[in-house]
């Protein structure tokens, strides 16, 4: 269980230097347009664009591929159903069950759509640290309590994973073998309970430590929130390509 937040945080490509706000807005807008696209041409265009962005970003290929495989497992499951459950002109048949062209086309569009969104998300997370995302969210007028909750959740998630591994190892050392029985479920329930108790107490300590060090409920930011010329260029390019994709869908 690994909770690496970024694939590689230090890099030199243009995408590392873009303002996090610009990146968030562009990714959100792109995701929405792609999610609503229903033309094959628009989706192929989207995947092509994201591939260009991936190459520009310089994110290591191996790690990228690993994440793609994880994300595509669910899509693979849909491929098992969609071609067979949608009616239409036959493509091929397995025994008495017939696969339709419409179903396969639909599944292909779904694959393209998901992968385009997944790729930009990976690039966003690989080139932006969670701290700068927190700052960007505050500047984008997301309510403070939601942003802090986001930050603390992220902070505690690491602790909980570590705590889980610790308790789970302790169970394994004591010869705990999970099975389908009430003992297993009871053990897991107490594991979750202990996880909550320990993390809650640690959470209070982290909070107390932050208050001791002068935490006033605000996260000061040291990097200047200035929009530079390449930020504007990125926004314009994104806006133009999104307009292009909308045209693909309409025309």
């Amino acid at each position: 269980m690994n909770l690496n937040d970024t694939i590689s945080e230090s890099g030199s490509s243009i995408l590392y230097r873009l303002d996090p706000r610009v990146k968030l807005i562009c990714v959100a807008a792109f995701s929405i347009v792609v999610a609503l696209s229903h033309q094959m041409s628009a989706l192929i265009f989207a995947v092509f664009l994201t591939s260009v962005v991936v190459i520009l970003s310089g994110v290591p290929a191996g790690k990228l591929l690993h994440r793609m495989i994880v994300a595509n497992v669910f899509i693979a499951v849909l491929w098992l159903f969609l071609p067979f459950t949608m009616t239409g002109s036959p493509l091929f048949s397995v025994g008495p069950i017939e696969a339709s062209k419409e179903g396969a086309r639909y599944a292909a569009m779904l694959t393209l759509r998901s992968n385009a969104i997944i790729l930009v998300m990976i690039v966003l997370m690989a080139t932006t640290s969670v701290t700068s995302i927190v700052h960007a969210l505050t500047r984008l007028r997301i309510p403070d309590s939601v942003v802090y909750l986001f930050f603390f959740t992220y902070r505690y998630a690491h602790e909980i994973v570590r705590e889980y591994t610790r308790i789970h190892n302790a169970m394994k050392i004591r010869c705990f073998t999970p099975g389908t029985n009430i003992h297993t479920y009871k053990s897991y329930a107490y594991l979750v309970g202990m996880l909550l108790v320990n993390s809650y107490e640690r959470g209070l300590r982290i909070r107390a430590a932050m208050i001791c060090r002068g935490f006033t409920g605000k996260f000061p930011s040291f990097d200047s929130p200035r929009i530079r010329h390449y930020d504007i260029v990125a926004m314009v390019v994104t806006a133009l390509t999104l307009a292009g994709m909308v045209m693909f869908n309409v025309g």
Binding site: M1, L3, V27, S31, A35, L36, R67, V70, A71, V77, L78, F81, L82, T85, M86, Y106, S114, I117, I118, M121, I122, L124, M125, I133, P143, S145, V146, Y148, L149, F150, F152, T153, Y154, Y156, A157, E159, I160, V161, Y164, P178, G179, T180, I182, T184, Y185, Y188, A189, Y190, L191, V192, G193, M194, L195, L196, V197, S199, Y200, G203, R207, G217
Partner: protein, 190 residues
């Protein structure tokens, strides 16, 4: 598209109510449960030959009430960003599908858990866990079926696949509630 918009609006309403319940004092508790929801998806529990991962939305609902909405939304957003589960466009629908059942469990079973004896706590905890998953599975199936009729069969499969999850969650939520009530009553309050 209508499903995405409806989900977004309903989730936004829930989050708006939930955010009002957050203050400096209960922030650590909410964040811990939000993080626990995030980590629960990594904990696999065996069921027969297969295994299911924990969801824990019933438990989170019982402990947090309306604050389950922001907690679950934040957690799902992190999952979307770090693991590429779900996504940003479906965040609204997913939040509602997970958090609404949590809040329902809160209103139906919270009182019984807090005031009842051990037997009542066990029963209410179990029901809370089962109901939250059952309702979530129905909501997910409905969202899929309304998004496109092509998803009808996968939606039914998802619904059927959640029956063992319901059983596991019911048992685990029940034991967990009893455990927390004995070991750390502060976590149960407020």
């Amino acid at each position: 598209m209508p499903v995405l918009v409806t989900g977004f609006v309903c989730a936004a309403a829930g989050v708006a109510i939930g955010v009002k319940k957050i203050n400096a004092d209960n922030m650590p508790k909410i964040a811990v449960l939000s993080a626990a929801f995030f980590v629960a998806s990594l904990i696999h529990v065996p069921v027969g030959l297969a295994s299911v991962h924990l969801v824990l939305n019933g438990l989170i609902g019982i402990l947090l009430g309306w604050a389950a909405f922001p907690a679950i939304m934040v957690s799902l957003a992190l999952q979307a960003m770090l693991f590429q589960f779900g996504g940003i466009t479906t965040l609204g629908v997913n939040t509602f599908n997970m958090a609404f059942p949590a809040v329902v469990s809160f209103f139906l079973f919270r009182n019984m858990i807090m005031t009842g004896n051990k037997i009542k706590t066990i029963i209410a905890g179990c029901m809370g866990g089962i109901l939250a998953i059952a309702l979530s599975a129905v909501l997910v199936a409905l969202s899929l079926a309304y998004t496109d009729r092509a998803f009808f069969t996968p939606a039914m499969v998802i619904l059927a696949a959640h029956i063992p999850v319901m059983v596991v969650e019911g048992i685990i939520t029940s034991f967990c509630v009893v455990f927390l009530k004995t070991v750390k009553p502060e976590l149960m309050e407020g």
